[in-house]
């Protein structure tokens, strides 16, 4: 690896809120999207000449389109309750990474152009003109937010900085400055069907490889079907599950569960991607376009259920938005939630006694669980609020003897983002990713010291990739991070009578 040009944060015994260091991350921004990647999503190829007027116009349009944005622009009282809640602030000390300050980058402009006080008394209320410097700041700091919503938990008015970040990114893209990483990926989905640009033959090949691998390991014929018409279940999973480590072991886990429960299922080459980066760039149109492939695939294959694999933001899009964007799902079996999370499905099977586990298989591990932000704060599992915390833990406990949770304020709704969510999982933001992981790593370090934790399980493709990359910077093994369904799959008793 190239030598890093920044210091890795030090893990202190107790989490600490840093003193503000203005502009500590002013040098950090992701690559700007090239013309082709902008245009394939319907955005101008480069910064348009009249960007100032266009940006203000777009902002006005969004204020009339999203109640959240309008209400959040007006309601903040600068109480400061959110200032120490963002992992990027805690990891970088840059005050513009405090949620309210991130919002203020836009709020100051909002006040100047859209409010009485800001038009007539700009200095008094901190209103500013939209200059090129301000636009640059937007680009930098709206790409130092992973849209994790931790701030929205603590704000007395529920102000969700993620909504403002999304609006900021949409305005930026609409004047020609999109982010390369996200836009390029969305383009691949439109062209090929998944984020990795993995075409159908390669997908089939990979899955055949997995069948052989499982056969060798277990001597059981576990299938990984693609485009199988008439299957009951369409599994939509992040494409990283097809070959990234440790993701693929999760996919093997899903397949084993389906096999053992006797569920007929299939993947789709048309919708071979659960991820939906349309959400990250704040573009509802693109989000809908990406999601529509799932509806098309489900209808084409004639399935009765749709199950979504382990992926945080994908689950948010699926759970919270699919019904609105690509529903109604009246063609699916009404006895199952549509869509259903793979953890919900496995959990139900366990409740029904359809799966037996040999927990000793995981006795070499002491496991903790990382709640992914989008699952925790933007969706649900099961029928009860908070089911998203109970169900994955129940799966882990069903398949492992040794489980401990991390510090209370860092789990459940207070969980810290892995540092790579929201379209930031790119190497041009490595410094941000490493620093932003600090609060999570800190809590992990604590349970390693106190309880000898060896593995952290997650249910998100981004979390898995991010931790694999950044844990070594903190002196931890990259293989500490595993899929929940890897634990499930390893402990599941295969082939015995059901």
């Amino acid at each position: 690896m190239k030598k890093l040009e920044f210091d890795i944060p030090v893990i202190t015994h107790y989490p600490k809120t840093p003193a503000v260091q203005p502009d500590a991350m002013a040098h950090c921004q992701p690559f700007i999207a090239k013309t082709e990647h902008q245009e394939s999503l319907g955005f101008p190829g480069e910064l348009v000449e009249n960007w100032h007027d266009k940006a203000i116009e777009k902002m006005g349009e969004l204020l009339g389109k999203y109640r959240s944005l309008q209400v959040f622009m007006d309601s903040c009282v600068k109480c400061g309750a959110c200032t120490d809640k963002c992992h990027y602030f805690l990891g970088t000390a840059d005050p513009k990474n405090m949620p309210v300050a991130r919002q203020d980058l836009m709020r100051k402009v909002y006040r100047r152009y859209f409010t009485f006080a800001g038009k007539h008394f700009p200095k008094l209320v901190g209103a500013i003109d939209l200059t090129k410097e301000v636009l640059d700041d937007w680009y930098k700091y709206y790409h130092q937010c992973s849209e994790c919503r931790r701030c929205s938990v603590y704000c007395p008015y529920g102000i969700d900085t993620a909504e403002i970040t999304m609006a900021g990114r949409e305005i930026l893209a609409s004047v020609g400055v999109g982010q390369k990483y996200s836009n390029e990926i969305i383009g691949k989905v439109f062209k090929i069907g998944n984020n990795l640009g993995l075409p159908e033959p390669a997908l089939v090949d990979t899955l055949e490889g997995l069948e052989e691998e499982v056969k060798e390991d277990t001597d059981v014929d576990v299938r990984f079907p693609v485009d199988q018409k008439g299957a009951d279940v369409l599994l939509v999973t992040p494409s990283a599950d097809f070959f990234a480590e440790p993701h693929v072991d999760g996919l093997i886990g899903y397949a084993k569960v389906f096999h053992q429960a006797g569920i007929s299922w299939t993947l789709s080459s048309h919708a071979s991607e659960a991820a939906n980066f349309g959400m990250f760039i704040g573009s509802q149109d693109n989000m809908q376009r990406v999601a529509m492939r799932v509806r098309e695939a489900a209808l084409e294959l004639g399935v009765k259920r749709i199950i979504v694999g382990e992926c945080g933001h994908a689950w948010r899009v699926a759970y919270s938005f699919w019904n609105t964007l690509i529903g109604p799902f009246d063609f699916l079996d009404p006895n199952y939630p549509a869509p259903q999370h793979i953890c919900e499905s496995t959990y139900d099977l366990i409740q029904q006694g359809a799966l037996k586990f040999n927990k000793e298989e995981n006795d070499d591990k002491v496991v903790t669980f990382h709640d992914s932000c989008n699952v925790s704060r933007a969706s649900r599992m099961g029928t009860m609020p908070g089911g998203q915390f109970v169900i994955p833990r129940a799966l882990i406990k069903a398949s492992c003897n040794h489980f401990v949770d991390m510090r209370q304020e860092t789990i459940h709704e207070g969980t810290f983002c892995c540092g790579g969510g929201g379209g930031l999982l790119t190497d041009d933001l490595l410094e941000l990713r490493i620093k932003g992981a600090l609060p999570r790593v800190q809590a992990l370090h604590e349970v390693i010291e106190d309880h000898g934790v060896t593995h952290m399980a997650a249910i998100c493709a981004i979390c898995k990739s991010q931790f694999t990359k950044v844990l070594p910077s903190y002196g931890m093994g990259m293989d500490m991070i595993i899929s929940v369904h890897q634990l499930v799959g390893d402990a599941l008793e295969l082939g015995k009578e059901r």
Partner: protein, 239 residues
């Protein structure tokens, strides 16, 4: 003195108009803008009554703020409930005969003034001494605290030191309610107190005081978590 009475009466009417029309306009705007997607911050209630309970807890207990910062919660909560009690106590100037429960809270209402001052000083202290809060504060944030502190302070001064003629004052206020201009006592502290209140009423709809109606329109708080059970459609949902 008659001129001052007319001036204040006029200003009161104007400020009331600004407050009512300004806030009503904002509420109307908020209610017209669609919330195209389901975005409650979860775990969230799955039913309407659950949402009502959540909003109730936010309004009455400041639930989220409590989770965030115990000090800010303490100062903020004490200030707001001091304010509420003080406002209710002032109803005695607008009701004749005074409603019985307003009579009952009079003695408690006095402490409300102190509670407000305590809370405001605490909040201001955070603005000055906590580097993060200092960073996000604009001049208007300090002025707002100064304004409300001055209102509370002048009120307490009248209670304990510069007593004003409350009987005449009450006649003036009751007169306003019947669109009659009666004599307003000319004590400077009273005029300052009322002048600042007029100020506060007038800036309400153009300032961060909009957080009051805003909370009820915040989609992260007022939406039920039921997107799979009910298809959410609102304005721009259909792109």
């Amino acid at each position: 003195m008659y001129f001052v009475s007319i001036l204040y009466a006029g200003l009161f009417y104007l400020a009331t108009l600004i407050l009512v029309i300004g806030v009503a306009r904002k509420v109307y705007i908020y209610s017209r803008i669609p919330a195209p997607l389901k975005i409650p911050t979860t775990p969230a209630p799955t039913t309407k009554s659950g949402v009502a309970a959540r909003l109730f807890r936010e309004v009455v207990l400041f639930e989220s703020l409590f989770k965030a910062s115990k000090w800010t919660w303490l100062f903020g909560w004490v200030f707001h409930f001091g304010l509420l009690l003080a406002l209710l106590r002032h109803l005695r100037y607008f009701t004749d005969p005074v409603w019985s429960w307003v009579g009952v809270i009079q003695s408690a209402g006095v402490y409300a003034g102190y509670a407000m001052v305590f809370g405001l000083l605490g909040l201001w202290g955070r603005r000055i001494f906590v580097d993060r809060v200092k960073y996000i504060s604009s001049p208007s944030d300090h002025l707002m605290l100064a304004l409300i502190l001055a209102i509370a302070g002048s009120g307490l001064l009248m209670k304990y030191i510069f007593h004003t003629d409350v009987v005449t004052l009450k006649l003036f206020m009751l007169g306003l309610l019947q669109f009659q201009i009666k004599l307003l006592p000319g004590d400077p502290v009273l005029l300052i107190h009322l002048g600042l209140v007029i100020c506060l009423m007038s800036i309400f709809p153009i300032s961060k005081l909009l957080h009051a109606p805003g909370l009820f329109f915040s989609p992260t708080r007022n939406q039920a978590d039921n997107p799979r059970e009910r298809r959410h459609m609102s304005g721009g949902s259909r792109a």
